[in-house]
Subunit: 357 residues, 2 copies
C-alpha cells in the first residue's frame, strides 16, 4: 500500500528524533511491502525564522492532503518573547483546529524495564502503570473567546472563555468509552463540576453516553482530586477523559509518574483517518543537535500512526516489540540511564530498534 | 487579649477535628493568658439539612464580625446531587468572596518524621519538601460569568469565564513576594501564557511587581510543566503563586507529595486581619464519627490563625512545637500509621498535643 506522510520536524531535538522515526518506518515499509512517502514541511520556530510565520499556508494545505502527519516538536526560548499569535505553539493549535483533531490520546505506560526511572515508590507502582488519557483537543478555554477590557477601578482585565457544547462532549466521550472497551473497561471522567457550569454539562453528557456502554464502569472525579490520586494510587486508572485544559495538566502529570517522558507517544485524531502523531515531550533546546535525545517517543508515535491512521496493526506491533527488545537488551539514551546499562545516542537507539524489526 | 473566633465545624469529620483544635486553643489561652471566645456557626451540608441553605445569613454576619474563622470541612455525597447554587461547597465560595479573602496560603511541608508516608522515592525527596502555594482565591474562573446557551448545530453550550484584572494580580503577587522574603527568596509564578490571554496579563503584572523585590528570584512556569516538576523535583520550589483554578490543582498535588494530607493547614487572608483557617483535606465522610480522623491539619490551621490574624507568634510556635514532639514520640492517627508507631484516635492525638504545650 501507498501512504503519504506529512513530516514536521520542527525545532530543537525535533529533526533528530524525526529522522530516526523515518528510518524505522522505511524499515517497516521494506519488510511489509508498503510505500511510505515522506514530505518534510516547515512549521514552528524554524518556519518563523525562514518565512515569518509559524504555520505557512503550504504546510497546512499539504497536511490536509496527506494520509497522516508525524511531528517532532515545536518551540523554544528563542521565540518565547513573541506575542501569542506569532509563537511557534500557535502552529500546533492551528493544525489541531483546522484538521478537526478533537481527540488527543496520551498513553502513560510504565515500561517494566524502566521501573527504576519512576519517581514513585515501588509499593505504589506495584505491577505497573498503564493509563490512557483522552484529552479533548479542539475546544474549551484554548479556543474560546479571549481578549482584554479596561476597567476604571480594577485596571486592565484579560479574559478567556471556557465553553463546551453537548456535541463536543459527546464525541470525545464516545472515543473514551470505545478505547476503554479494548482495555480494562473503566473510564474516569475528570471535571470541576462543583464549581464550573461547563463541567456540569460535561458530567451529564458523559453520563448519557455511558448508558450506551453498559459493560464499562464510569467514575467522576474532580480535577484537584485527580491530580492527587494520580500520585497516591495511579493503578486505579484505566482511561481518563477530560477537557483540553485539564487534559494538558493531567497528561503531563501522568507521563512523569511513569518516569519515562522520553518514551511516550501521542495521537491526535478526528472523524477521518487523518491523524497527527507526536511525542509527548517538547523540543528540549538544551540537548538539541547533540545526538542525545531519546527517539523512542517519536518512534512509538509512528507506531500509533500505523495502527490508528493506516490500520496496520501487525506493523505497529512490530515496532513496539522492537522497542521492548532493545530495552531488554539494556540500551538506554541519557534520559533513561541507570546502573549497568548501555548508553547510546539518538542514532544508535534508532539503529538498535531497526535491527530488531 | 480577647479574641472572637467564629467556628464552623461543618460536615463529616469536621466536628471531631474542630473539637481538638478548640481544646488546643483553650490550652494556649490558659498558658499565655488570652481569652478565645468560640462561637459555633452552621454552614455546609448540615446547614442545608437544618435551615435549607448552606450559608445562613446569620453565619455570614457573625463571621464578618469575628476576629477570625476556623473551619472544619464541608460537603459529602449526601448533597452531591443538589444543583450548584445549593451545594455545601457554595458556603466556602461565598465566605471567601464576601469576606474578600483573596489570598490562600497552602504550605506543603514534608515532616521529617513522616518521610515514610511520602509517595516519592527517597532520592527525589532528599532533605525534605517545603513549598508554600499562594493561590488567588476570589477571582478567575471560579467567580467569572457562567451560564448556558443553546445552539442549533452543537446542542446546548455551557460556559465559564476566566478573567483577571491588574489589581487582582498585583495584590496576590505582592503577598507571594512578601512570603518568599521570609523564606528561601524564590517565587515561581505558574500560568499558561502560551495559550491564555489572562495568563499573559498575569505574567506581565507579576514581572512588574517583581521589580519592587530585587532580592527575590522570579521564575515563570507553565501549569502543565509545573504539574510534572512538582513530582520530578519538588525541592526546586519555594513559593508558588498562581490563579484560583491552577492553585486548586497544584496545592492538592503539592500536599499529596508530602504524603501527609492529614497534616496540612491553610489560611485564607484579605486586606484586614480577619482570616479563615481550615485543613487542606475534605470532610472524609467514610471515617466520620469514628474518632479516627487526624486533627493535626486543623490544629496547625489554628496555629496559622494565631500567627496571621492575631499576631501571636510565640503561641503559634508553641502549637507547632507540640505537634513535632508528638510525632517524634511516635503517635500516629490511622492515616499516618507505619511500623513501630503508636496508633491513636482523634481525641488521643489532641490530648498528646495539649500535653506538650
Ligand atoms: C505547546 C502547548 C500549546 C501545548 C498545549 O498546551 O496543548 C502542549 O503543552 C501540549 O500539551 O501539546
Ligand atoms: C470544595 C471546592 C469548591 C474547593 C475549591 O475548589 O476551591 C476545594 O477544592 C478547595 O480547594 O478548597
Amino acid at each position: 500500500m501507498n501512504f503519504q506522510i506529512a513530516v514536521i520536524p520542527g525545532d530543537g531535538i525535533g529533526p533528530e528524533i524525526i529522522n530516526e522515526a523515518i528510518k524505522v518506518l522505511e524499515t517497516i515499509g521494506k519488510k511489509y511491502h508498503h510505500h511510505f512517502h515522506f514530505q518534510k514541511l516547515l512549521a514552528g520556530g524554524c518556519a518563523i525564522d525562514k518565512v515569518g510565520t509559524c504555520l505557512p499556508d503550504e504546510t497546512l494545505d499539504l497536511c490536509k492532503k496527506s494520509d497522516s502527519i508525524l511531528l517532532g516538536a515545536v518551540g523554544g526560548p528563542k521565540w518565547d518573547t513573541l506575542p501569542g499569535e506569532q509563537r511557534p505553539e500557535k502552529a500546533l493549535l492551528r493544525l489541531r483546529k483546522e484538521l478537526n483533531l478533537f481527540a488527543n490520546l496520551r498513553p502513560a505506560l510504565l515500561f517494566p524495564q524502566l521501573k527504576d526511572a519512576c519517581p514513585l515508590k515501588k509499593e505504589i507502582v506495584g505491577n505497573g502503570i498503564d493509563i490512557c488519557v483522552v484529552r479533548e483537543l479542539t475546544g474549551g478555554i484554548y479556543f474560546g473567546e479571549k481578549g482584554r477590557k479596561s476597567s476604571d477601578i480594577m485596571g486592565e482585565i484579560a479574559y478567556d472563555v471556557e465553553s463546551y457544547s453537548v456535541s463536543e462532549i459527546k464525541r470525545i466521550a464516545k472515543i473514551a468509552f470505545e478505547i476503554a472497551g479494548k482495555r480494562k473497561k473503566k473510564v474516569t471522567s475528570v471535571d470541576k463540576a462543583n464549581v464550573l457550569e461547563s463541567s456540569k454539562l460535561w458530567r451529564s453528557v458523559v453520563e448519557e453516553i455511558a448508558n450506551d456502554y453498559p459493560d464499562i464502569t464510569l467514575h467522576h472525579m474532580y480535577i484537584d482530586n485527580a491530580s492527587m490520586q494520580l500520585i497516591r494510587d495511579p493503578k486505579q486508572f484505566d482511561v481518563i477523559v477530560t477537557s483540553n485544559m485539564f487534559g494538558d495538566i493531567l497528561s503531563d502529570e501522568a507521563s512523569i509518574i511513569t518516569g519515562s517522558i522520553g518514551m511516550l507517544p501521542s495521537a491526535s485524531l478526528g472523524n477521518s483517518t487523518l491523524g497527527m502523531y507526536e511525542p509527548i515531550h517538547g523540543s528540549a533546546p538544551d540537548i538539541a543537535g547533540k545526538n542525545k535525545a531519546n527517539p523512542i517517543a517519536t518512534i512509538l508515535s509512528a507506531a500509533m500512526m500505523l495502527r490508528y491512521s493506516f490500520n496496520l496493526n501487525k506493523e505497529a506491533q512490530a515496532i513496539e516489540d522492537a522497542v521492548t527488545k532493545v530495552l531488554k537488551q539494556g540500551y538506554r539514551t541519557p534520559d533513561l540511564i541507570h546502573t549497568e546499562m548501555q548508553l547510546v545516542s539518538t542514532k544508535e537507539m534508532g539503529e538498535q530498534i531497526i535491527k530488531n524489526i
